[in-house]
């Protein structure tokens, strides 16, 4: 497997895409960005290569397992088993690190109580884990930091009360530990881990044993195909600090333009709303950037804005869209300042407005800002493609559709479930080109 990899180091998430020689996407991976850029890239790449393995598995097994649904089911179970294993491993690491942090003068005399509390919390966390990775389970996020964090806080509050310890202190231990844990790069070979996951799978789902036996050889064959990382190109907000040389770095504008063009060759206008920037890009029929505009130094109205709101309401980011969809009207919100979003929210709640209506208003505010940036870059031309993390948010998409149609008439609007990977896809294409030329 010759792999051409694009990595998009964003302000909130880091994405990787693996292409093969024919420019086919083999795998995509994502993780939260973090202080250690190197790790963020490694994790994203690791995830993308993992996904690529699954693509290879699927190709290898297609001839062996005739029923498509059965194959899907098997691969899905395998992936969940893999993720659960990884999650538990990281939980173990986190627990150990927490205990390690609970030493020193500040904790004098309370060590035993703290250790016990931590143990209890992690017992609960581990007990929860399988449910998180059950079939069709809804997760608040896919990142370890968010998953472990939200459970830790929920369980921690009660545990602290019961043990008569300060909750702030327990939270602080978690904060101290998580930054270390998440900055440790993933260890171990994908292949070995997958094999272990396969073994576990039989333990939990004995009914799959036949199938597993049946596919064992093609699985091994697929896992044995060596992965050769031919070229890696980096882009994104953090690109200047990427551990790559200058020739292996492209501006995120070019990558997004090219990525969108690859997904939808008819694209002329691209809107990307990421964590802290919003870009509107005009491309020609070759995917070459003709014009672009970005938000200026203010981060108002970008993805992080939704993050702050979600935090304020104690929800996951991906739950905001569905909530806003329940609105019956939308409250007019003028300020999209991220930092004051919470204050504004409280203000409106105090005035008796309904939560869903306010949230709908906040989404509209974000999209209005994006509309201005689009308009500044030259308006919307057919076809229009919406990319970036916020494209996953149905309420944002709904407002955008409405406004695009109202202002630019009937244009094709493309939104891809994988749109968050657009920049990385463009980067991967540049990687492929670099080798071709």
């Amino acid at each position: 497997m010759r792999a051409f990899i694009g990595i998009d180091l964003g302000s909130t998430t880091t994405k990787a895409v693996v292409l093969d020689e024919n420019m086919d996407v083999l795998g995509r991976g994502i993780t939260n960005s973090r202080a250690n850029y190197d790790t963020a890239c490694k994790v994203a790449k690791y995830e993308a290569l993992l996904a690529a393995r699954f693509t290879l598995l699927q190709r290898g097994l297609a001839s062996v397992v005739a029923a498509e649904s059965r194959l899907e089911d098997f691969l899905g179970s395998l992936e969940r088993s893999f993720r659960l294993g990884q999650f538990v491993e990281q939980l173990d690491d986190l627990e150990e690190t927490c205990l390690d942090k609970a030493k020193g003068d500040r904790f004098k005399g309370r060590e035993a109580a703290i250790a016990e509390a931590i143990r209890l919390i992690f017992v609960a966390l581990r007990a929860d884990a399988p449910a998180l990775f059950a079939r069709d389970a809804r997760r608040k996020s896919d990142f370890f930091r968010d998953l472990a964090g939200s459970r830790f806080m929920a369980v921690g509050q009660e545990t602290a009360k019961a043990a008569n310890l300060s909750y702030d202190m327990l939270l602080n231990l978690y904060d101290k530990a998580i930054i270390e844990v998440e900055n440790r790069p993933p260890s171990g070979e994908i292949k070995d881990k997958l094999l272990r996951a396969l073994a576990r799978l039989i333990d939990v789902s004995p009914e799959l044993a036949d199938l597993v036996a049946e596919v064992s050889d093609p699985v091994r064959a697929a896992l044995d195909i060596p992965a050769e990382e031919v070229a890696v190109v980096g882009t994104g907000y953090g690109r200047v600090t990427l551990p790559f040389s200058k020739e292996h770095i492209r501006s995120e504008i070019l990558c997004h333009g090219l990525g969108a063009h690859m997904m939808y060759p008819g694209t002329r206008t691209v809107l990307d709303i990421g964590g802290q920037d919003t870009k509107a890009i005009q491309v020609d029929d070759q995917g070459i950037v003709e014009n672009f505009q970005m938000n200026d130094r203010c981060a108002a109205g970008c993805g992080r804005y939704l993050g702050y709101i979600a935090d304020e309401m104690n929800m996951g980011v991906h739950e905001l869209g569905p909530l806003a969809m329940q609105a019956t009207r939308s409250v007019r919100i003028n300020s999209t300042c991220t930092v004051f979003a919470g204050a504004e929210l409280r203000d409106r709640l105090a005035l008796g407005e309904k939560r869903e209506d306010i949230i709908a208003g906040l989404h509209r505010a974000i999209i209005l800002r994006a509309m201005s940036i689009i308009s500044r870059s030259g308006g919307v031309r057919d076809q229009f493609t919406f990319t970036g993390g916020v494209a996953k948010n149905e309420a944002a998409v709904k407002e955008l559709r409405q406004l695009i149609i109202a202002n630019y008439g009937d244009v094709v609007i493309n939104i891809n479930p994988d749109s968050i990977y657009t920049g990385a896809l463009g980067a991967a294409a540049f990687a492929r080109r670099a080798v071709a030329n």
């Binding site: 003028n334 203000d347 308006g379 202002n407």
Partner: protein, 396 residues
């Protein structure tokens, strides 16, 4: 006045009418006014001084275009302006590109600042079919120099209007218009004086809406409305609150959101004078009706017009005294500088005015706003602190 008893109109009704005019971003009134009689023209102008008499004399409706306020969603307008430029030009462009001003025959851009000045050129590029004119006024106030220049400018404007309306703008018509506007200005001054006497009877948000109506209504109709309001407000029974009295200044162009005006009052301040929509009371006493009407307009501009930061003050000793005079006249206890963010004329003037106030021991506070500001908390906080200190320190 002999208003029959059956026709007594309440404050609520008048203000509801004004609010409806204020909310109507499609300018239905002006559209209907124009459609009612063939040959009528509508001439838009940006907030500030323009000689409305000439427009009226040409059979036109002067239509104040005061931006989009807080309700307009600015989508395309933002594409034309950087974040560090005030809001009013972008919402005005939005009004233009969304065809809300498509019935306007000519646009005037008064000489107030570089932003409006450049907007006049943008209008020429974006709406080539509309007559648009940058309306310059002299900063030299001697009759032979600035006066002569200004009479020329007025004459050019007069010609443009005649061309637009297809009829000559006669001296007699101008004189008749001056008379109507003299009457209107007198009524406006009366409303202001009434509020300064009994601010609890004429809440600032009401007076504001009433004056705003004057920017879009025919002058005759507005004068009638002012008269009705004066009667109705005097008759209304409204409680008097323990508020302090303030003059608001700096808001002569981009308008604050109505909520801001309400917030100032809610947090304990009665506004007893302001500089919202100065064009309503630009000439400070009647413009003469004798002789050459254009020369009279020029005279009034040079020697008897409102003071504001867009006008040069030739006499350093006089700088800012108009504000002190306003405070004295209305017995205000302080001044609130409320200016649009990024408004160069207001913000550059501010420190000079503040020093004059300080020299006269007049307390003041200052804040900035945008026409679509949503957060009133900081405003309430500052106006409230101002009012608190009067509440706590006044002697019973």
């Amino acid at each position: 006045m002999s208003t029959p008893v059956t026709e007594i109109i309440t404050v609520t009704e008048i203000i509801a009418r004004c609010q409806a005019l204020f909310d109507d971003l499609n300018f239905t009134y002006a559209r209907e006014w124009k459609a009612a009689v063939p040959g009528r023209i509508v001439v838009g102008y940006m907030p500030f001084y323009v000689p409305r008499e000439l427009i009226h004399a040409a059979g036109g409706l002067p239509l104040g275009v005061l931006g989009g306020g807080e309700q307009l969603e600015v989508i395309q307008g933002d594409a034309y302006y950087q974040s560090y430029i005030c809001r009013i030009p972008r919402s005005t462009i939005e009004l233009g590109v969304t065809n809300r001003l498509d019935f306007v025959d000519a646009m005037l851009f008064p000489s107030i600042c570089d932003v409006i000045r450049n907007l006049s050129g943008m209008w020429k590029i974006m709406f080539p079919k509309v007559r648009s004119r940058y309306f310059d006024v002299p900063q030299n106030f001697s009759d032979g120099v600035g006066g002569t220049f200004y009479i020329h400018e007025l004459t050019e404007l007069r010609e443009m209007l005649a061309e637009a309306s297809g009829r000559a703008v006669t001296d007699a018509a101008i004189r008749a218009s001056i008379a109507l506007y003299n009457e209107n200005r007198a009524l406006v001054r009366e409303v202001y004086a009434f509020r300064a006497r009994q601010p609890w009877k004429a809440p600032s948000a009401e007076v504001y809406l009433l004056m705003r109506a004057g920017m879009v209504l025919a002058v005759e109709e507005h004068s009638r409305m002012l008269r009705e309001y004066l009667d109705a407000a005097a008759a209304a029974d409204r409680p008097r609150r323990d508020n302090s009295r303030v003059v608001v200044t700096g808001a002569f162009c981009e308008q604050p959101p109505l909520n801001l005006i309400k917030s100032i009052e809610l947090s304990g301040c009665y506004i007893v004078d302001d500089d919202f929509m100065l064009v309503n009371r630009w000439e400070q006493s009647d413009v003469s009706l004798d002789g050459d009407p254009v020369a009279n307009l020029a005279q009034a501009y040079l020697h008897n017009s409102a003071n504001t930061s867009a006008k040069y003050e030739p006499d350093p000793a006089q700088k800012g005294l108009y504000l002190v005079a306003a405070v004295k006249r209305t017995r205000a206890e302080g001044v609130i500088f409320a200016s649009p963010s990024f408004c160069d004329p207001a913000l550059l003037e501010r420190p000079m005015l503040q020093r004059v106030l300080a020299a006269h021991d007049i307390p003041f506070i200052a804040f900035k706003y945008a026409e679509n500001s949503g957060q009133m908390q900081p405003i309430r906080e500052q106006a409230g602190t101002f009012a608190d200190s009067i509440k706590l320190w006044s002697t019973p």
